[in-house]
Amino acid sequence: MNAYDKVRIARSSGRPTGLVYINSIFSSFIELHGDRRAKDDGAIVAGIAELDGMPVTVIAIEKGRTAAERTMRNFGSASPEGYRKALRLMMEAEKFNRPVITFVDTSGAFCGIEAEERGEGEAIARNLMEMMDLDVPIISILIGEGGSGGALGLAVADRVWMLENAVYSVISPEGCASILFKDSKKAPEAAECLKLTADDALSFSLIERIIPEEGLGTEEFFSALGSAIAEEIRQIRKDADFKEKRYKRFRAF
């Protein structure tokens, strides 16, 4: 399977979306809305839930599955308000000593007039800064598309995992192809150059783990993933130095 096949799979509509992960892995999820500034961004779903007896804060980018859902979720392209909602709930997680788990699946942050007017860049920047310093464990899992700054704005973590067919890239293969080859149809070649697969990311130590997609979407799949997340959180919590290690993790790039 080549890199662009993975891009196609990562984007395909049949994959479980962020909300499916939340509902399948956690119990007693209570969604919390809004950024307390301007609005509630449907592209990001967030709240408190329980995982293996632990209260946790869960944040997911949701693309939506039906046409109506996709419109409501803005196809998983978050606005500044979405990143600010996420940050508000991460600060709350820190206050109540809850670990944070994020599920990332976006082609990129929203490229709209309103998004610029309300500071898309500032919102992502603030998240990067605060997530580097958050005093609770953070685990980020890329479940589909990891589109550039829009993905990174929720993926500064102690552990970053990717699903086997997820992709993570600084630019879309189409965008890269139109610059590099002056032809967006050469996206497959660009995808190879960008080294955007989970295997690539692991080989550059940009992620810690690849989640095999065998049984993707089944009860067993989510149950195994839930156990892995719970186990990892316990490991991070045992380490008094975890924040320093998070700094060093990104410092190494």
């Binding site: 610029e116 500071g119 860049g121 589109g147 700054g149 965008g175």
Partner: protein, 283 residues
């Protein structure tokens, strides 16, 4: 959807070259369309109509700082992904700019007050963020933290550097971590946004400063105009993503004309208790 790019890179680079007038030439001001001679725009490379021409990073350092001493200039950029054509592009960028990377870092003083400085070079691949760009800025913030210095940074960037893939993206988080540590220690960071400041630089250290100044008319934004038009199919408002627009939206503190910048920076340093060298810092 492409969230990280303003324009095709070669187009931006071409624009970068065209916008930096060599002082020997006559140049037409893109704002008032008058033909200007060297003496008309010196010393600040500004037109009397208010237009600010782009400046080379070293020219900027010369205009606003004294006693600049460069740090981390030996960091060497590598083609980590073996990306097609990157080696040649780096070579060309080095020739075009006379610099090894898209940022210059060091220590200097303003009015005798010592500061850590970074200045991005738009002639080097449009100031895009390679791993060495991120590394030098990170090291500067760490140095400033260790030596309890304020940081003054001039941004000019088209965003991430495609040829370094995810490694480029990760620079945003890396620098942000260093900015946060510097900030947690109660130290001052002033960013001066210059034309253009976009993409991953806007979505990281350009927007993380305590005080965010901008030059008049600078293009500042996250997504590129073309991408926004394609995504929304709407006409963009007049002056969209210009410094004046961002000021109105509440994302920059102040627009400062180049001729007033040294004074403004000096006053800000004084108001933050940054003493002249040789004196003890108070507070």
């Amino acid at each position: 959807m492409i969230s990280f790019r303003m324009k095709p890179e070669n187009e931006l680079e071409k624009e970068g070259r065209d916008n930096i007038p060599s002082p020997e030439d006559e140049i037409v001001c893109p704002n008032c369309h008058r033909t200007l001679k060297k003496n008309d725009i010196l010393p600040f490379m500004t037109c009397s109509c208010g237009h600010h021409f782009r400046l080379k990073a070293r020219a900027r350092i010369g205009l606003f700082f004294n006693g600049f001493s460069e740090l981390f200039e030996d960091e060497k950029t590598r083609d980590i992904l073996s990306f097609p054509g990157y080696g040649d592009k780096l070579e060309k960028a080095r020739k075009a700019s006379g610099e090894n990377e898209s940022v210059i870092t060091g220590i200097a003083s303003i009015d005798g007050r010592k500061v850590a400085v970074f200045v991005m070079e738009s002639l080097f691949m449009m100031g895009s963020m390679g791993h060495v760009t991120g590394e030098k800025i990170t090291k500067l913030f760490e140095y400033a933290l260790a030596n309890r210095l304020p940081v003054i940074g001039f941004t000019a960037s088209g965003g991430a550097r495609m040829q370094e893939g995810l490694i480029s993206l990760m620079q945003m988080a890396k620098v942000s971590g260093a900015v946060k540590r510097h900030s947690n220690a109660g130290l001052l960071y002033i960013a001066v946004l210059t034309d253009p400041t976009t993409g991953g630089v806007t979505a990281s250290f350009a927007m993380e400063a305590d005080i965010i100044l901008s030059e008049p008319g600078a293009l500042i934004g996250f997504a590129g105009k073309r991408v926004i038009e394609q995504t929304t199919k709407k006409e963009l408002p007049k002056g969209f993503q210009k410094a004046e627009f961002l000021l109105k939206c509440g994302f920059i503190d102040k627009i400062v004309h180049r001729k007033d910048l040294e004074y403004t920076l000096r006053q800000l340093l004084i108001l933050h208790g940054i003493e002249k060298e040789g004196k003890e810092n108070i507070g």
